[in-house]
Protein backbone atom coordinates (compact mmCIF):
# COMPACT_ATOMS: atom_id res chain seq x y z
CA UNK A 1 0.00 0.00 0.00
CA UNK A 2 1.10 3.51 -0.78
CA UNK A 3 0.54 6.76 1.12
CA UNK A 4 -2.96 8.21 1.46
CA UNK A 5 -4.64 9.83 -1.54
CA UNK A 6 -7.47 12.30 -1.86
CA UNK A 7 -10.80 10.49 -2.11
CA UNK A 8 -11.50 12.15 -5.46
CA UNK A 9 -8.31 10.75 -6.89
CA UNK A 10 -9.45 7.15 -6.51
CA UNK A 11 -10.44 5.46 -9.75
CA UNK A 12 -13.60 3.62 -8.75
CA UNK A 13 -14.31 1.91 -12.06
CA UNK A 14 -14.52 -1.82 -12.02
CA UNK A 15 -14.73 -4.45 -14.69
CA UNK A 16 -16.95 -7.50 -14.39
CA UNK A 17 -16.39 -9.50 -17.57
CA UNK A 18 -17.98 -7.37 -20.32
CA UNK A 19 -19.61 -5.00 -17.87
CA UNK A 20 -17.60 -1.85 -17.19
CA UNK A 21 -19.06 -0.04 -14.20
CA UNK A 22 -18.41 3.45 -12.90
CA UNK A 23 -18.03 2.08 -9.39
CA UNK A 24 -18.29 -1.21 -7.54
CA UNK A 25 -21.36 -0.58 -5.35
CA UNK A 26 -24.74 -2.07 -6.26
CA UNK A 27 -28.00 -2.81 -4.54
CA UNK A 28 -28.69 -6.45 -3.64
CA UNK A 29 -31.55 -8.24 -5.35
CA UNK A 30 -34.82 -8.02 -3.46
CA UNK A 31 -33.65 -5.19 -1.23
CA UNK A 32 -34.21 -2.29 -3.61
CA UNK A 33 -37.26 -3.35 -5.66
CA UNK A 34 -36.52 -1.81 -9.07
CA UNK A 35 -34.97 1.40 -7.84
CA UNK A 36 -37.91 3.82 -7.87
CA UNK A 37 -38.42 3.96 -4.12
CA UNK A 38 -34.72 4.57 -3.39
CA UNK A 39 -34.66 7.44 -5.85
CA UNK A 40 -36.46 9.41 -3.12
CA UNK A 41 -33.29 9.20 -1.02
CA UNK A 42 -30.48 9.37 -3.58
CA UNK A 43 -29.91 9.20 -7.31
CA UNK A 44 -29.68 5.54 -8.26
CA UNK A 45 -27.72 6.53 -11.36
CA UNK A 46 -24.78 7.18 -9.05
CA UNK A 47 -24.50 3.50 -8.16
CA UNK A 48 -22.36 1.07 -10.10
CA UNK A 49 -25.55 -0.83 -10.85
CA UNK A 50 -29.06 -1.45 -9.58
CA UNK A 51 -29.77 -5.15 -9.20
CA UNK A 52 -33.50 -5.73 -9.49
CA UNK A 53 -35.63 -8.01 -7.39
CA UNK A 54 -35.56 -11.47 -8.99
CA UNK A 55 -37.97 -11.46 -11.92
CA UNK A 56 -40.10 -14.48 -12.74
CA UNK A 57 -41.87 -15.29 -15.96
CA UNK A 58 -45.33 -15.08 -14.43
CA UNK A 59 -46.81 -12.75 -11.84
CA UNK A 60 -46.48 -14.16 -8.35
CA UNK A 61 -48.28 -13.24 -5.14
CA UNK A 62 -45.49 -14.43 -2.88
CA UNK A 63 -46.07 -16.10 0.45
CA UNK A 64 -48.46 -15.29 3.26
CA UNK A 65 -47.38 -13.05 6.11
CA UNK A 66 -45.49 -12.88 8.44
CA UNK A 67 -42.74 -12.67 5.87
CA UNK A 68 -39.96 -11.44 8.10
CA UNK A 69 -38.58 -11.63 11.57
CA UNK A 70 -35.75 -9.64 13.04
CA UNK A 71 -32.84 -11.70 14.41
CA UNK A 72 -29.63 -10.63 16.17
CA UNK A 73 -27.80 -8.39 13.69
CA UNK A 74 -29.92 -9.74 10.89
CA UNK A 75 -33.31 -10.84 9.72
CA UNK A 76 -35.08 -13.79 8.18
CA UNK A 77 -37.28 -13.24 5.15
CA UNK A 78 -39.61 -15.44 3.23
CA UNK A 79 -41.13 -13.21 0.58
CA UNK A 80 -41.60 -15.95 -1.98
CA UNK A 81 -40.44 -13.82 -4.92
CA UNK A 82 -43.56 -11.68 -5.13
CA UNK A 83 -43.55 -9.79 -8.39
CA UNK A 84 -45.53 -8.78 -11.44
CA UNK A 85 -43.77 -11.09 -13.89
CA UNK A 86 -41.52 -10.36 -16.85
CA UNK A 87 -44.03 -8.52 -19.01
CA UNK A 88 -44.79 -5.87 -16.46
CA UNK A 89 -41.10 -5.62 -15.57
CA UNK A 90 -40.06 -4.98 -19.17
CA UNK A 91 -42.96 -2.62 -19.75
CA UNK A 92 -42.59 -0.52 -16.64
CA UNK A 93 -39.61 -1.09 -14.36
CA UNK A 94 -36.76 -1.53 -16.81
CA UNK A 95 -37.70 1.59 -18.82
CA UNK A 96 -37.83 3.59 -15.59
CA UNK A 97 -34.29 2.51 -14.71
CA UNK A 98 -33.00 3.35 -18.18
CA UNK A 99 -34.75 6.72 -18.22
CA UNK A 100 -33.05 7.53 -14.95
CA UNK A 101 -29.61 6.59 -16.31
CA UNK A 102 -29.21 3.67 -13.94
CA UNK A 103 -27.28 0.57 -14.94
CA UNK A 104 -29.72 -2.29 -14.46
CA UNK A 105 -28.54 -5.75 -13.59
CA UNK A 106 -31.62 -7.90 -13.92
CA UNK A 107 -31.98 -10.80 -11.52
CA UNK A 108 -33.95 -13.68 -12.97
CA UNK A 109 -35.39 -16.74 -11.25
CA UNK A 110 -37.31 -19.74 -12.47
CA UNK A 111 -38.54 -23.12 -11.45
CA UNK A 112 -37.44 -24.97 -14.57
CA UNK A 113 -34.71 -24.73 -17.19
CA UNK A 114 -37.32 -23.63 -19.67
CA UNK A 115 -38.35 -20.67 -17.56
CA UNK A 116 -34.74 -19.58 -17.11
CA UNK A 117 -34.17 -19.86 -20.84
CA UNK A 118 -37.26 -17.82 -21.63
CA UNK A 119 -36.27 -15.12 -19.17
CA UNK A 120 -32.73 -15.04 -20.60
CA UNK A 121 -34.06 -14.64 -24.12
CA UNK A 122 -36.31 -11.79 -23.15
CA UNK A 123 -34.14 -9.93 -20.65
CA UNK A 124 -30.80 -10.80 -22.15
CA UNK A 125 -31.64 -9.26 -25.46
CA UNK A 126 -33.22 -6.06 -24.22
CA UNK A 127 -30.97 -3.06 -24.83
CA UNK A 128 -29.67 -1.34 -21.72
CA UNK A 129 -29.42 -4.40 -19.51
CA UNK A 130 -25.91 -4.24 -18.03
CA UNK A 131 -25.85 -7.87 -16.95
CA UNK A 132 -28.03 -10.75 -15.88
CA UNK A 133 -27.83 -12.15 -12.37
CA UNK A 134 -29.16 -15.67 -12.14
CA UNK A 135 -30.81 -16.48 -8.83
CA UNK A 136 -30.58 -20.25 -8.62
CA UNK A 137 -31.81 -20.51 -5.02
CA UNK A 138 -35.18 -21.70 -6.26
CA UNK A 139 -36.75 -25.13 -6.12
CA UNK A 140 -36.57 -27.09 -9.37
CA UNK A 141 -40.08 -28.35 -10.03
CA UNK A 142 -38.67 -30.88 -12.49
CA UNK A 143 -36.35 -32.41 -9.88
CA UNK A 144 -38.37 -33.09 -6.71
CA UNK A 145 -38.25 -29.43 -5.75
CA UNK A 146 -34.53 -29.59 -5.00
CA UNK A 147 -32.95 -26.21 -5.05
CA UNK A 148 -30.81 -25.66 -8.17
CA UNK A 149 -28.12 -23.91 -6.16
CA UNK A 150 -27.47 -26.99 -4.03
CA UNK A 151 -26.40 -29.28 -6.84
CA UNK A 152 -23.43 -28.53 -9.10
CA UNK A 153 -24.97 -30.33 -12.07
CA UNK A 154 -28.37 -28.63 -11.89
CA UNK A 155 -26.78 -25.27 -11.16
CA UNK A 156 -24.52 -25.72 -14.18
CA UNK A 157 -27.49 -26.56 -16.42
CA UNK A 158 -29.27 -23.35 -15.47
CA UNK A 159 -26.20 -21.27 -16.25
CA UNK A 160 -25.60 -22.98 -19.56
CA UNK A 161 -29.12 -22.28 -20.85
CA UNK A 162 -29.04 -18.71 -19.61
CA UNK A 163 -25.63 -18.07 -21.16
CA UNK A 164 -26.77 -19.69 -24.41
CA UNK A 165 -29.87 -17.53 -24.69
CA UNK A 166 -28.39 -14.21 -23.57
CA UNK A 167 -26.88 -11.80 -26.06
CA UNK A 168 -23.09 -11.80 -26.31
CA UNK A 169 -21.63 -8.86 -24.48
CA UNK A 170 -24.19 -9.11 -21.71
CA UNK A 171 -22.43 -10.86 -18.85
CA UNK A 172 -24.25 -13.56 -16.94
CA UNK A 173 -23.54 -13.85 -13.22
CA UNK A 174 -24.59 -16.82 -11.10
CA UNK A 175 -25.70 -16.03 -7.57
CA UNK A 176 -24.75 -18.85 -5.24
CA UNK A 177 -26.21 -20.13 -2.01
CA UNK A 178 -23.94 -20.60 1.01
CA UNK A 179 -26.00 -23.59 2.16
CA UNK A 180 -23.78 -26.15 0.50
CA UNK A 181 -20.93 -28.39 1.58
CA UNK A 182 -18.56 -26.88 -0.97
CA UNK A 183 -19.34 -23.56 -2.56
CA UNK A 184 -16.18 -23.94 -4.62
CA UNK A 185 -17.63 -27.02 -6.34
CA UNK A 186 -20.78 -25.13 -7.29
CA UNK A 187 -18.74 -22.14 -8.41
CA UNK A 188 -16.53 -24.28 -10.62
CA UNK A 189 -19.51 -26.00 -12.16
CA UNK A 190 -21.38 -22.82 -13.09
CA UNK A 191 -18.23 -21.19 -14.43
CA UNK A 192 -17.58 -24.22 -16.61
CA UNK A 193 -21.19 -23.98 -17.77
CA UNK A 194 -20.61 -20.41 -18.92
CA UNK A 195 -21.15 -18.04 -16.01
CA UNK A 196 -19.07 -14.91 -16.57
CA UNK A 197 -18.92 -14.11 -12.88
CA UNK A 198 -20.34 -15.04 -9.51
CA UNK A 199 -22.40 -13.28 -6.90
CA UNK A 200 -21.63 -14.51 -3.37
CA UNK A 201 -23.80 -15.03 -1.31
CA UNK A 202 -27.54 -15.48 -1.16
CA UNK A 203 -29.19 -15.85 2.27
CA UNK A 204 -28.63 -18.73 4.71
CA UNK A 205 -31.55 -20.98 5.53
CA UNK A 206 -32.89 -20.22 8.98
CA UNK A 207 -35.96 -20.59 11.16
CA UNK A 208 -37.42 -18.77 14.11
CA UNK A 209 -40.21 -19.92 16.41
CA UNK A 210 -42.64 -17.34 17.74
CA UNK A 211 -43.05 -18.13 21.43
CA UNK A 212 -46.36 -16.28 21.50
CA UNK A 213 -47.97 -18.61 18.97
CA UNK A 214 -45.55 -21.55 19.42
CA UNK A 215 -45.36 -21.79 15.65
CA UNK A 216 -42.61 -20.91 13.20
CA UNK A 217 -42.72 -17.13 12.99
CA UNK A 218 -42.67 -17.07 9.20
CA UNK A 219 -45.72 -18.23 7.32
CA UNK A 220 -43.24 -19.89 4.96
CA UNK A 221 -41.75 -21.75 7.99
CA UNK A 222 -38.08 -21.34 6.97
CA UNK A 223 -36.58 -18.12 5.65
CA UNK A 224 -33.37 -16.59 4.42
CA UNK A 225 -30.96 -15.09 6.95
CA UNK A 226 -29.28 -11.84 5.90
CA UNK A 227 -27.61 -8.82 7.42
CA UNK A 228 -24.31 -8.21 9.27
CA UNK A 229 -24.78 -11.50 11.15
CA UNK A 230 -23.86 -13.42 7.97
CA UNK A 231 -20.98 -11.21 6.84
CA UNK A 232 -18.21 -13.56 8.02
CA UNK A 233 -19.81 -16.40 6.02
CA UNK A 234 -20.03 -14.22 2.91
CA UNK A 235 -16.44 -13.00 3.18
CA UNK A 236 -15.32 -16.60 3.62
CA UNK A 237 -17.20 -17.64 0.47
CA UNK A 238 -15.57 -14.83 -1.53
CA UNK A 239 -12.14 -15.72 -0.15
CA UNK A 240 -12.49 -19.42 -0.94
CA UNK A 241 -13.80 -18.90 -4.45
CA UNK A 242 -11.28 -16.16 -5.23
CA UNK A 243 -8.50 -18.55 -4.31
CA UNK A 244 -9.96 -21.52 -6.16
CA UNK A 245 -10.96 -19.69 -9.34
CA UNK A 246 -8.58 -16.77 -9.82
CA UNK A 247 -9.59 -14.40 -12.59
CA UNK A 248 -13.34 -14.98 -12.32
CA UNK A 249 -15.07 -11.72 -11.41
CA UNK A 250 -16.79 -11.94 -8.05
CA UNK A 251 -19.48 -9.73 -6.56
CA UNK A 252 -19.62 -9.85 -2.77
CA UNK A 253 -22.86 -9.54 -0.83
CA UNK A 254 -23.90 -10.32 2.72
CA UNK A 255 -24.09 -7.94 5.63
CA UNK A 256 -22.36 -4.95 4.05
CA UNK A 257 -23.24 -1.84 6.02
CA UNK A 258 -20.22 0.46 5.74
CA UNK A 259 -17.43 1.35 3.36
CA UNK A 260 -15.07 -0.67 5.55
CA UNK A 261 -17.30 -3.72 5.13
CA UNK A 262 -17.25 -3.19 1.36
CA UNK A 263 -13.46 -2.91 1.39
CA UNK A 264 -13.26 -6.17 3.34
CA UNK A 265 -15.05 -7.91 0.44
CA UNK A 266 -12.83 -6.25 -2.16
CA UNK A 267 -9.58 -7.23 -0.50
CA UNK A 268 -10.96 -10.75 0.00
CA UNK A 269 -11.37 -10.99 -3.77
CA UNK A 270 -14.59 -9.31 -4.90
CA UNK A 271 -14.55 -6.81 -7.77
CA UNK A 272 -17.85 -5.30 -6.72
CA UNK A 273 -20.27 -5.43 -3.80
CA UNK A 274 -23.99 -5.30 -3.17
CA UNK A 275 -25.82 -3.69 -0.28
CA UNK A 276 -29.02 -5.41 0.83
CA UNK A 277 -30.47 -5.57 4.32
CA UNK A 278 -28.55 -2.44 5.36
CA UNK A 279 -30.96 -0.48 3.15
CA UNK A 280 -33.76 -1.32 5.56
CA UNK A 281 -31.72 0.26 8.34
CA UNK A 282 -30.64 3.23 6.24
CA UNK A 283 -32.32 3.92 2.90
CA UNK A 284 -29.24 5.89 1.86
CA UNK A 285 -26.92 2.97 2.63
CA UNK A 286 -25.76 2.14 -0.91
CA UNK A 287 -24.62 5.66 -1.68
CA UNK A 288 -23.13 6.09 1.79
CA UNK A 289 -21.21 2.83 1.41
CA UNK A 290 -19.89 4.12 -1.92
CA UNK A 291 -18.77 7.39 -0.35
CA UNK A 292 -17.17 5.64 2.60
CA UNK A 293 -15.49 3.08 0.36
CA UNK A 294 -13.90 5.86 -1.64
CA UNK A 295 -12.46 7.32 1.55
CA UNK A 296 -11.30 3.92 2.82
CA UNK A 297 -9.50 3.26 -0.45
CA UNK A 298 -7.94 6.71 -0.50
CA UNK A 299 -6.73 6.60 3.08
CA UNK A 300 -4.95 3.33 2.32
CA UNK A 301 -3.38 4.63 -0.84
CA UNK A 302 -5.33 2.45 -3.26
CA UNK A 303 -5.43 4.54 -6.44
CA UNK A 304 -7.96 2.22 -8.03
CA UNK A 305 -10.46 -0.41 -7.07
CA UNK A 306 -8.60 -3.04 -9.04
CA UNK A 307 -5.52 -2.63 -6.83
CA UNK A 308 -7.60 -3.52 -3.79
CA UNK A 309 -9.35 -6.53 -5.32
CA UNK A 310 -7.87 -9.66 -3.78
CA UNK A 311 -5.20 -7.69 -1.91
CA UNK A 312 -5.58 -9.84 1.23
CA UNK A 313 -5.17 -13.03 -0.80
CA UNK A 314 -2.07 -11.65 -2.48
CA UNK A 315 -0.56 -10.44 0.77
CA UNK A 316 -1.44 -13.83 2.29
CA UNK A 317 0.42 -15.52 -0.54
CA UNK A 318 3.40 -13.20 0.02
CA UNK A 319 3.43 -14.05 3.70
CA UNK A 320 3.23 -17.75 2.87
CA UNK A 321 5.98 -17.40 0.27
CA UNK A 322 8.21 -15.47 2.66
CA UNK A 323 7.62 -18.08 5.36
CA UNK A 324 7.94 -21.11 3.07
Amino acid sequence: MSPALLPDDVDLTTVLADAHLENPVMTASGCAASGQELQQFFDVAELGAVVTKSILRDPRSGRATPRMVETPSGMLNSIGLQGPGINAFLARDLPWLLQHDARPIVSIAGSSLGEYAELARRVGNTPGVAAIEVNISCPNVEDRGLVFACDPVQAGRVLSVVRRDTARGVPVFAKLSPDVTSIVDIARSVVEAGADGLVLINTLLGLSVDLATMRPTLAGVTGGLSGPAVRPVAVRAVWQVANALPGIPLIGVGGIRTGADALEFLVAGASAVQVGTAIFNDPGAPIRVLRELRTELASRGFARVSSAVGFANRSAADVAAAAG
Binding site: G30, C31, A32, A33, E37, L38, Q40, F41, F42, K53, D58, P59, R60, S61, G62, R63, A64, T65, P66, R67, M68, E70, P72, S73, G74, M75, N77, I79, G80, Q82, G83, P84, G85, S111, P139, V141, A219, G227, P228, T277, A278, I279, F280, N281, D282, P283, G284, R288
Partner: protein, 292 residues
Amino acid sequence: MTVRAPARGPIQVDGEVFSNKRVGAYAHLVLVADGIAERTRPGHFVALSVGGPTSARLLRRAFSIYRVRPAGIYGGTVEIVFAATGPGTQWLAERRAHDPVNVVGPLGRPFALPKEPVGCALVGGGYGSAPLFGLAARLRERGCGVHMVLGAATESRLFGALEAKRAAQSVTVTTEDGSVGIRGRVTDPLPSLLARHSIEVVYSCGPMGMLAAVTRVATQHGAWSQTAVEESMACGIGVCMTCVLPVVGDDGVTKMVRACVEGPVFAGDKVRWEAVGTVPAGTFGAPAAGGH
Protein backbone atom coordinates in the same frame (compact mmCIF):
# COMPACT_ATOMS: atom_id res chain seq x y z
CA MET B 1 -25.98 12.07 8.09
CA THR B 2 -28.98 13.70 6.51
CA VAL B 3 -30.22 12.73 3.08
CA ARG B 4 -32.43 15.37 1.47
CA ALA B 5 -34.99 14.53 -1.14
CA PRO B 6 -37.60 16.29 -3.28
CA ALA B 7 -40.10 18.36 -1.31
CA ARG B 8 -42.88 15.78 -1.06
CA GLY B 9 -41.31 12.40 -0.38
CA PRO B 10 -39.77 11.14 2.82
CA ILE B 11 -36.39 12.30 4.08
CA GLN B 12 -33.84 10.87 6.45
CA VAL B 13 -32.86 13.14 9.33
CA ASP B 14 -30.50 12.87 12.26
CA GLY B 15 -33.03 13.72 14.94
CA GLU B 16 -32.54 14.50 18.61
CA VAL B 17 -34.80 13.87 21.58
CA PHE B 18 -36.50 17.02 22.81
CA SER B 19 -38.55 15.30 25.51
CA ASN B 20 -39.74 11.84 26.43
CA LYS B 21 -42.55 11.50 28.97
CA ARG B 22 -44.76 8.75 30.27
CA VAL B 23 -48.47 9.09 29.53
CA GLY B 24 -50.35 6.23 31.15
CA ALA B 25 -48.99 3.02 29.72
CA TYR B 26 -47.31 4.87 26.85
CA ALA B 27 -44.32 7.04 26.12
CA HIS B 28 -44.78 10.39 24.40
CA LEU B 29 -41.62 11.20 22.48
CA VAL B 30 -40.91 14.59 20.95
CA LEU B 31 -38.06 14.59 18.45
CA VAL B 32 -36.36 17.55 16.86
CA ALA B 33 -36.17 16.45 13.22
CA ASP B 34 -36.08 19.25 10.71
CA GLY B 35 -38.06 18.95 7.52
CA ILE B 36 -40.47 16.23 8.60
CA ALA B 37 -43.26 18.52 9.81
CA GLU B 38 -43.57 20.40 6.54
CA ARG B 39 -44.16 17.18 4.62
CA THR B 40 -46.49 15.45 7.06
CA ARG B 41 -50.19 14.89 6.61
CA PRO B 42 -52.41 13.01 9.08
CA GLY B 43 -51.91 9.26 8.78
CA HIS B 44 -48.26 9.44 7.82
CA PHE B 45 -45.77 7.51 9.90
CA VAL B 46 -42.07 7.71 10.74
CA ALA B 47 -39.51 4.91 10.99
CA LEU B 48 -36.94 5.26 13.73
CA SER B 49 -33.68 3.38 14.09
CA VAL B 50 -33.09 1.84 17.49
CA GLY B 51 -30.17 0.80 19.69
CA GLY B 52 -27.49 3.24 18.61
CA PRO B 53 -24.17 2.45 16.92
CA THR B 54 -23.67 -0.93 18.66
CA SER B 55 -27.22 -2.11 17.96
CA ALA B 56 -28.05 -5.70 17.02
CA ARG B 57 -31.54 -4.48 16.02
CA LEU B 58 -31.22 -3.34 12.46
CA LEU B 59 -34.79 -2.78 11.46
CA ARG B 60 -36.48 0.53 11.98
CA ARG B 61 -39.58 0.78 14.13
CA ALA B 62 -42.67 2.38 12.59
CA PHE B 63 -44.83 4.85 14.52
CA SER B 64 -47.82 6.89 13.49
CA ILE B 65 -47.13 10.58 13.68
CA TYR B 66 -49.05 12.11 16.55
CA ARG B 67 -48.16 15.76 16.03
CA VAL B 68 -45.66 17.86 14.15
CA ARG B 69 -44.45 21.42 14.56
CA PRO B 70 -42.62 23.11 11.70
CA ALA B 71 -39.26 24.74 12.36
CA GLY B 72 -39.60 28.05 14.16
CA ILE B 73 -37.25 29.43 16.80
CA TYR B 74 -36.47 25.81 17.57
CA GLY B 75 -36.02 23.11 14.93
CA GLY B 76 -39.08 21.35 13.58
CA THR B 77 -40.41 18.54 15.73
CA VAL B 78 -42.29 15.31 15.24
CA GLU B 79 -44.11 13.51 18.05
CA ILE B 80 -45.11 9.91 18.57
CA VAL B 81 -46.89 7.92 21.25
CA PHE B 82 -45.83 4.36 21.78
CA ALA B 83 -45.99 1.30 23.97
CA ALA B 84 -42.62 -0.05 25.15
CA THR B 85 -43.18 -3.71 24.40
CA GLY B 86 -39.99 -5.10 22.89
CA PRO B 87 -36.30 -4.22 22.82
CA GLY B 88 -36.60 -1.43 20.25
CA THR B 89 -39.43 0.43 21.92
CA GLN B 90 -37.82 -0.11 25.34
CA TRP B 91 -34.67 1.50 24.03
CA LEU B 92 -36.69 4.43 22.70
CA ALA B 93 -38.47 4.77 26.03
CA GLU B 94 -35.10 5.19 27.76
CA ARG B 95 -33.90 8.04 25.54
CA ARG B 96 -33.39 11.36 27.27
CA ALA B 97 -33.19 14.94 26.01
CA HIS B 98 -30.46 15.46 23.38
CA ASP B 99 -29.98 11.75 22.66
CA PRO B 100 -29.76 11.13 18.89
CA VAL B 101 -32.47 9.18 17.06
CA ASN B 102 -32.38 8.78 13.31
CA VAL B 103 -35.72 9.45 11.60
CA VAL B 104 -37.05 8.46 8.18
CA GLY B 105 -40.34 10.03 7.24
CA PRO B 106 -42.99 10.96 6.62
CA LEU B 107 -43.88 7.61 5.13
CA GLY B 108 -46.97 6.02 3.68
CA ARG B 109 -50.24 7.34 2.35
CA PRO B 110 -52.15 9.68 4.65
CA PHE B 111 -55.88 9.61 5.39
CA ALA B 112 -58.03 10.68 2.47
CA LEU B 113 -60.09 13.77 3.35
CA PRO B 114 -63.69 14.29 2.26
CA LYS B 115 -64.27 17.02 -0.30
CA GLU B 116 -67.49 18.10 1.42
CA PRO B 117 -67.99 19.19 5.05
CA VAL B 118 -69.53 15.90 6.17
CA GLY B 119 -69.84 14.24 9.57
CA CYS B 120 -66.82 12.10 10.46
CA ALA B 121 -66.20 9.53 13.17
CA LEU B 122 -62.60 9.04 14.31
CA VAL B 123 -62.14 5.74 16.09
CA GLY B 124 -58.89 5.01 17.93
CA GLY B 125 -57.83 1.93 19.85
CA GLY B 126 -55.03 2.34 22.41
CA TYR B 127 -52.13 4.36 20.98
CA GLY B 128 -54.07 4.24 17.71
CA SER B 129 -55.75 7.47 18.80
CA ALA B 130 -52.50 9.36 18.32
CA PRO B 131 -52.74 10.05 14.57
CA LEU B 132 -56.40 11.06 14.87
CA PHE B 133 -55.74 14.44 16.46
CA GLY B 134 -53.95 15.89 13.47
CA LEU B 135 -56.72 14.44 11.34
CA ALA B 136 -59.38 16.01 13.54
CA ALA B 137 -57.80 19.44 13.09
CA ARG B 138 -57.70 19.06 9.31
CA LEU B 139 -61.30 17.91 9.20
CA ARG B 140 -62.51 20.82 11.29
CA GLU B 141 -60.64 23.23 9.01
CA ARG B 142 -62.80 21.83 6.24
CA GLY B 143 -65.96 22.24 8.26
CA CYS B 144 -66.48 18.56 8.91
CA GLY B 145 -68.18 17.32 12.06
CA VAL B 146 -65.65 15.46 14.21
CA HIS B 147 -66.78 12.74 16.62
CA MET B 148 -64.20 10.70 18.42
CA VAL B 149 -64.51 7.23 19.84
CA LEU B 150 -61.51 6.18 21.88
CA GLY B 151 -61.20 2.72 23.30
CA ALA B 152 -58.70 0.60 25.15
CA ALA B 153 -58.44 -2.45 27.36
CA THR B 154 -58.15 -0.26 30.43
CA GLU B 155 -57.75 3.38 31.41
CA SER B 156 -53.95 3.48 31.34
CA ARG B 157 -54.01 2.32 27.73
CA LEU B 158 -56.40 5.00 26.64
CA PHE B 159 -54.63 7.82 24.87
CA GLY B 160 -55.78 11.39 24.44
CA ALA B 161 -59.24 11.31 26.07
CA LEU B 162 -58.74 14.80 27.50
CA GLU B 163 -57.26 16.24 24.34
CA ALA B 164 -60.18 14.75 22.42
CA LYS B 165 -62.58 17.06 24.24
CA ARG B 166 -60.86 20.01 22.57
CA ALA B 167 -60.44 18.26 19.23
CA ALA B 168 -63.92 16.91 18.66
CA GLN B 169 -67.56 17.84 18.90
CA SER B 170 -68.28 14.65 20.79
CA VAL B 171 -66.09 12.13 22.55
CA THR B 172 -67.08 8.60 23.48
CA VAL B 173 -64.74 6.49 25.58
CA THR B 174 -64.86 2.74 26.00
CA THR B 175 -62.71 0.40 28.07
CA GLU B 176 -62.98 -3.33 28.13
CA ASP B 177 -62.75 -3.42 31.91
CA GLY B 178 -65.02 -0.42 32.38
CA SER B 179 -62.32 1.47 34.31
CA VAL B 180 -63.42 4.60 32.46
CA GLY B 181 -66.21 5.34 29.99
CA ILE B 182 -68.50 2.69 28.61
CA ARG B 183 -67.56 -0.88 29.45
CA GLY B 184 -67.02 -2.61 26.14
CA ARG B 185 -65.47 -2.03 22.75
CA VAL B 186 -65.42 0.92 20.39
CA THR B 187 -67.84 -0.88 18.09
CA ASP B 188 -70.51 -1.01 20.83
CA PRO B 189 -71.44 2.70 20.83
CA LEU B 190 -70.48 3.17 17.18
CA PRO B 191 -73.75 2.26 15.36
CA SER B 192 -75.88 4.71 17.33
CA LEU B 193 -73.18 7.39 17.02
CA LEU B 194 -73.05 6.98 13.24
CA ALA B 195 -76.83 7.34 13.06
CA ARG B 196 -77.06 10.22 15.55
CA HIS B 197 -74.50 12.40 13.77
CA SER B 198 -75.17 11.27 10.16
CA ILE B 199 -71.58 10.17 9.79
CA GLU B 200 -70.36 9.70 6.23
CA VAL B 201 -66.72 8.80 6.86
CA VAL B 202 -65.35 6.59 9.60
CA TYR B 203 -61.60 6.86 10.24
CA SER B 204 -59.95 4.26 12.40
CA CYS B 205 -56.55 3.33 13.74
CA GLY B 206 -55.84 0.49 16.12
CA PRO B 207 -55.46 -3.28 16.20
CA MET B 208 -56.38 -5.19 13.05
CA GLY B 209 -59.39 -6.85 14.68
CA MET B 210 -60.79 -3.48 15.63
CA LEU B 211 -60.28 -2.07 12.13
CA ALA B 212 -62.15 -5.01 10.63
CA ALA B 213 -65.02 -4.59 13.10
CA VAL B 214 -65.20 -0.82 12.62
CA THR B 215 -65.25 -1.29 8.86
CA ARG B 216 -68.13 -3.72 9.22
CA VAL B 217 -70.15 -1.23 11.25
CA ALA B 218 -69.32 1.62 8.87
CA THR B 219 -70.27 -0.38 5.80
CA GLN B 220 -73.56 -1.48 7.36
CA HIS B 221 -74.28 2.15 8.03
CA GLY B 222 -73.36 3.10 4.47
CA ALA B 223 -70.33 5.17 5.47
CA TRP B 224 -66.87 5.17 3.92
CA SER B 225 -64.17 3.78 6.10
CA GLN B 226 -60.52 4.76 6.16
CA THR B 227 -58.37 2.40 8.21
CA ALA B 228 -54.73 2.78 9.20
CA VAL B 229 -53.27 -0.73 9.45
CA GLU B 230 -50.23 -1.99 11.35
CA GLU B 231 -48.29 -4.63 9.45
CA SER B 232 -44.84 -5.85 10.39
CA MET B 233 -42.38 -3.86 8.24
CA ALA B 234 -38.73 -4.42 7.45
CA CYS B 235 -38.04 -1.34 5.31
CA GLY B 236 -41.03 1.00 5.60
CA ILE B 237 -40.19 2.50 2.20
CA GLY B 238 -41.57 -0.06 -0.23
CA VAL B 239 -38.52 -2.06 -1.25
CA CYS B 240 -38.74 -5.31 0.73
CA MET B 241 -42.30 -6.69 0.25
CA THR B 242 -42.67 -7.87 3.85
CA CYS B 243 -45.65 -5.71 4.83
CA VAL B 244 -48.25 -6.97 2.42
CA LEU B 245 -51.92 -7.70 2.95
CA PRO B 246 -54.67 -8.77 0.55
CA VAL B 247 -56.51 -5.75 -0.81
CA VAL B 248 -59.09 -5.67 -3.58
CA GLY B 249 -58.14 -3.30 -6.38
CA ASP B 250 -60.38 -1.12 -8.51
CA ASP B 251 -60.35 -3.96 -11.04
CA GLY B 252 -61.90 -6.26 -8.45
CA VAL B 253 -58.75 -8.37 -8.28
CA THR B 254 -57.17 -9.10 -4.90
CA LYS B 255 -53.48 -8.20 -4.76
CA MET B 256 -50.89 -8.52 -2.01
CA VAL B 257 -50.16 -4.83 -1.54
CA ARG B 258 -47.53 -3.10 0.56
CA ALA B 259 -48.88 -1.48 3.70
CA CYS B 260 -45.91 0.89 3.89
CA VAL B 261 -46.38 2.68 0.57
CA GLU B 262 -49.88 1.78 -0.63
CA GLY B 263 -51.06 2.11 3.00
CA PRO B 264 -50.94 2.29 5.94
CA VAL B 265 -54.32 3.89 5.27
CA PHE B 266 -56.66 1.80 3.17
CA ALA B 267 -60.33 2.06 2.33
CA GLY B 268 -61.65 -0.38 4.92
CA ASP B 269 -63.99 -2.14 2.50
CA LYS B 270 -61.11 -2.96 0.15
CA VAL B 271 -59.10 -4.88 2.72
CA ARG B 272 -59.79 -8.61 2.85
CA TRP B 273 -59.74 -8.56 6.66
CA GLU B 274 -60.71 -12.20 7.07
CA ALA B 275 -57.80 -13.19 4.82
CA VAL B 276 -55.04 -11.06 6.36
CA GLY B 277 -52.09 -13.38 7.02
CA THR B 278 -52.96 -15.59 4.05
CA VAL B 279 -52.84 -15.38 0.29
CA PRO B 280 -56.52 -15.92 -0.50
CA ALA B 281 -57.41 -18.05 -3.51
CA GLY B 282 -57.72 -15.97 -6.64
CA THR B 283 -55.15 -13.40 -5.55
CA PHE B 284 -53.14 -11.99 -8.44
CA GLY B 285 -50.19 -14.35 -8.93
CA ALA B 286 -51.35 -16.83 -6.30
CA PRO B 287 -50.13 -20.37 -6.77
CA ALA B 288 -52.44 -22.65 -8.72
CA ALA B 289 -53.53 -25.71 -6.73
CA GLY B 290 -50.43 -27.86 -6.16
CA GLY B 291 -48.17 -25.04 -7.31
CA HIS B 292 -45.52 -23.04 -5.49
